[in-house]
Symmetry: C2
Subunit: 525 residues, 2 copies
């Protein structure tokens, strides 16, 4: 430890308190804070996405947007507000409809006397019809689709929207479940059921591709059982990932809506012979929740670990200059290095570089970047400069490991280094999932795997160590009553029935009925 480039002895060896092992839920919040990704606002359940977190989201958007356009979709934008009458139309189809959502009832604030008798601003100008802030846009987009679609020539209609949506959540957690969140929602209309189903599965594939090849997060593609379907959907497909605490995260959904929404929104077309039919529609979405998934898949006890392909910046260059007489030369050397890096292409853009010349302690600076999860940290001092080399640390190798690399070699190998890290993160996450996935062939095994639900166990307090189980692969004949029981007793849900592989027929471990394939069961976010 005599190398002066190591963090000073006083620097903490674990950046995040508590560790994952000690308290997983609290560790998550601390990583978000330490990595400067987001923070809570004064508005209940609404988050502020800070620049580092937002830049990560921009990369998610950029890559997905390209994928959507390459599969023929066009972006558009629809109103934030949904008239109450639209939801009433939908509510006719939904038993016991009650929606937790933000309801706009007035269109003015003016001085007046508040409920507590004090003077202040009060709502005025009551609306004839309340408006709901969109929780999702099937109804409002359906209203446009019913105008846009007249003939079979107008189909398929392939639209995507990037937007904010609001769901009045009781318990919120940064990125994973917030009252307002950012997402994209695809909405398409087709002439036939088959085409709509092809679209539904195509977008599921796009999501899986993105999750695995960009987020380095392995996922299982599957179909939801009836109880977990999107209300109004005929089939709901999803991608499910295993987090480091062995819980499942639903990371994206793709819905085949049949003609249900076409009926309620009156989306009809005439075919070549002039006969009129309802269209077949789909919808699909992913949200800022993906950032939560990235954190819980890759971050460690030192902080965030960003998959290089989506990192807001790939490299931070830190000039290490103790002597004033070499400061300018080292700085210039770093500026030139940054410029050279920025000419290198990687993952659809050029290498993004931060040059951190702030006047703060070197150890603090290094730790800030470790916690932010930047893939590569490079330090350059006068001696490195003389030798035309840099000190490089990889975020996936632990904070103590740094190697001296010749400048030319560093530049020549950086793309390969980043790709090694990307595939290494994926492999590690996949090994974790495989180690914690078990084929279960009886109810007794199932109960042993998950353990009885502890009354005190809640999302907020359970630690990684105490959560039992992982992914259980079990034969299952879907039955809502069974799922209600599993939820109540074990806090376990059927995550999905995988769409590929894993096909051997068997017998449901709960009912003994025949099952054509195994389903995935897990605790979840």
């Amino acid at each position: 430890m005599s190398n002066p480039k190591q963090p000073a002895a006083s620097a903490p060896t674990t950046a995040i308190t508590p560790t994952r092992e000690e308290n997983y839920a609290e560790w998550y919040q601390q990583v978000v804070r330490a990595a400067d990704l987001a923070e809570n606002s004064d508005v209940r359940g609404c988050m502020v996405i800070k620049p580092w977190g937002y830049a990560t989201w921009e990369n998610v958007q950029r890559v997905l947007d390209r994928m959507f356009k390459d599969t023929g979709h066009k972006n558009a934008y629809f109103p934030l507000f949904i008239p109450l009458s639209y939801l009433e139309k939908e509510a006719e189809h939904v038993e016991g409809f009650a929606k937790e959502c933000a309801v706009v009832t007035h269109h003015r604030l003016q001085p007046g006397t508040k409920a507590d008798g004090k003077p202040g601003l009060v709502p005025a100008g009551e609306l004839q019809e309340p408006l709901v802030v969109r929780p999702t846009s099937e109804t409002i987009i359906g209203a446009s689709f019913s105008k846009w679609v007249q003939s079979y020539r107008d189909l398929p209609l392939l639209i995507n929207q990037w937007a904010n949506v609001v769901r009045w959540e009781m318990r919120t957690r940064l990125f994973l479940r917030t009252t307002e969140f950012l997402w994209q929602e695809g909405h398409t209309a087709h002439a036939t059921s088959e085409e709509a189903m092809v679209e539904t599965l195509k977008m599921l594939e796009v999501y899986a591709d993105f999750a695995e090849n960009w987020m380095a997060m392995p996922v299982i593609k599957g179909e939801k059982t009836e109880g977990e379907r999107f209300p109004g959907a005929v089939n709901t497909y999803c991608i499910e990932a295993m987090m480091q605490d062995r819980k499942a995260l639903q990371a994206g959904t793709s819905h085949f809506l049949g003609q249900n929404f076409a009926h309620s929104s009156d989306i009809k077309f005439s075919d070549a012979n002039g006969s009129v039919s309802f269209a077949w529609t789909t919808s699909w979405g992913v949200s800022t929740r993906l950032i939560g998934g990235m954190i819980m898949t890759h971050a460690d006890d030192d902080g965030m670990v960003l998959p290089p392909r989506l990192a807001p910046a790939h490299v931070v260059i830190i000039p290490v200059t103790h002597k004033p007489e070499t400061a300018q030369a080292v700085h210039d050397y770093c500026v030139k290095l940054a410029a050279d890096l920025r000419t290198i292409h990687y993952a659809g853009r050029t290498i993004d570089v931060e040059l951190d010349a702030r006047d703060i302690r070197g150890g603090d600076k290094a730790w800030q970047w470790i916690k932010k999860g930047i893939p590569l940290r490079v330090e350059v001092g006068p001696r490195d400069m003389e030798q035309d080399s840099v000190f490089m640390a990889r975020r996936d190798r632990g904070h103590k490991e740094k190697v001296s690399v010749k400048r030319d070699e560093f530049l020549a190998t950086i793309v390969q280094t980043l790709e090694d890290m990307q595939s290494g993160l994926f492999a590690r996450a996949k090994a974790h999932r495989e180690a914690n996935t078990q084929r279960i062939d009886s109810r007794a095994e199932f109960e042993a795997f998950f353990g009885v639900k502890n009354e005190a166990e809640s999302e907020e307090t359970s630690s990684g160590g105490s959560v039992k189980g992982g992914f259980a692969l079990a034969h299952y004949a879907p039955d809502p009553a069974v799922e209600d029981e599993l939820k109540a007793k074990f806090a376990v849900t059927c995550r999905c029935i995988p769409v590929d592989g894993n096909d051997e027929p068997g017998t449901c471990i709960f009912s003994g009925k025949p099952s054509s394939r195994r389903a995935v069961f897990a605790k979840s976010y």
Copy 2:
């Protein structure tokens, strides 16, 4: 007219009814409709931005976002909702505060009995404190800034947000004034007044650069008089453009907020000596209104005319195939042409191409693209293919003019062609502004220039021909009473006091007081 590639004789020679001359306001609405840019929704004052309009907005975003990042700004995202208490803090500074905005008062919809006695969904779960849908985000972003800024090392803080905002407008018009609109809002904090002022003017410059060099819309950069300032701002700067009906459009604003918002949001920092001061802040924004500005600057009686640098697509290729035996060959030829075009770089991206092989009448197809304003229309038939040439029509040359160009020449010159169109549009708009700008040296001249306000004259009914005036450059000693009178009598406002050029001192034409420079007066949107 014997050329078979001309639109059929039955095609209308004027695509938009009415023309600009006949009814400018109605012409505008018809262009938006015919170009498929946007449409009204069932939600009062909220628009649906259709794919062609949204793709134009995406180009605006892409270019501006790069400009913001190049000037050191980072994007972030803040909550949609603002607590009432934040606005009450602000209201203390604002006399007669009353805001037309969307007020959220409940967080649930549930079945119940509506005001008309019928069963339906009713709001439930009343909020303790109502929330306002952001009309602008100074207060909510200020709350974060007050946490983020502690030391002079945290400054300058340069943040931008892309977001939707809501203002409950009484009279709305697509893009120009809608209840919900999309915009960006920059918010920055600085250690000194000077730095904040430099930032304010830098962003004004960025807006002017964007308007002129990307939108091809000439603008005057200027400062608003007191009565036209953003509430709470010390200085408000703006870019003002002249539309084809000679009215002004405020296309962007940049505010120097002094320490006013730092006081109400408590944004303080300690300097190197540890003494604590309030920060100096700025804010600046442009919105989807820019699309309205593009339409009213460039569109003609045939429909939209897109500035090539921001056009969603630069070229449409239309295969013209009457004989089945040549159809495939012509189609393949067009596909190859599209692929070659897509390798050409132009204005920060590659050439965007639409290949329109739809089975509809050629004349209708051509007119659809004319109305959409695509810069270049290219038709390829069997004979063109044999001669290795294409028929090309430029959108800025009238719908009848088409020329045969060798394929190689077309590819070799397309960038120059697009740039010619871009600069031609700018020159035409600038000539229009200059022709309708007059130096006015007395009140009598001023009144003659604008004419007395006609009682029946409203934005909705006034035609381009009947609106008097244009831009009047007159010496002016700012006085709110004068501005109130001008507004009431002539529907004219002081648009701005230009920040550069035009410096000769003089005498206010209204009060006879000294004036250091001329101000711009106009009717406006």
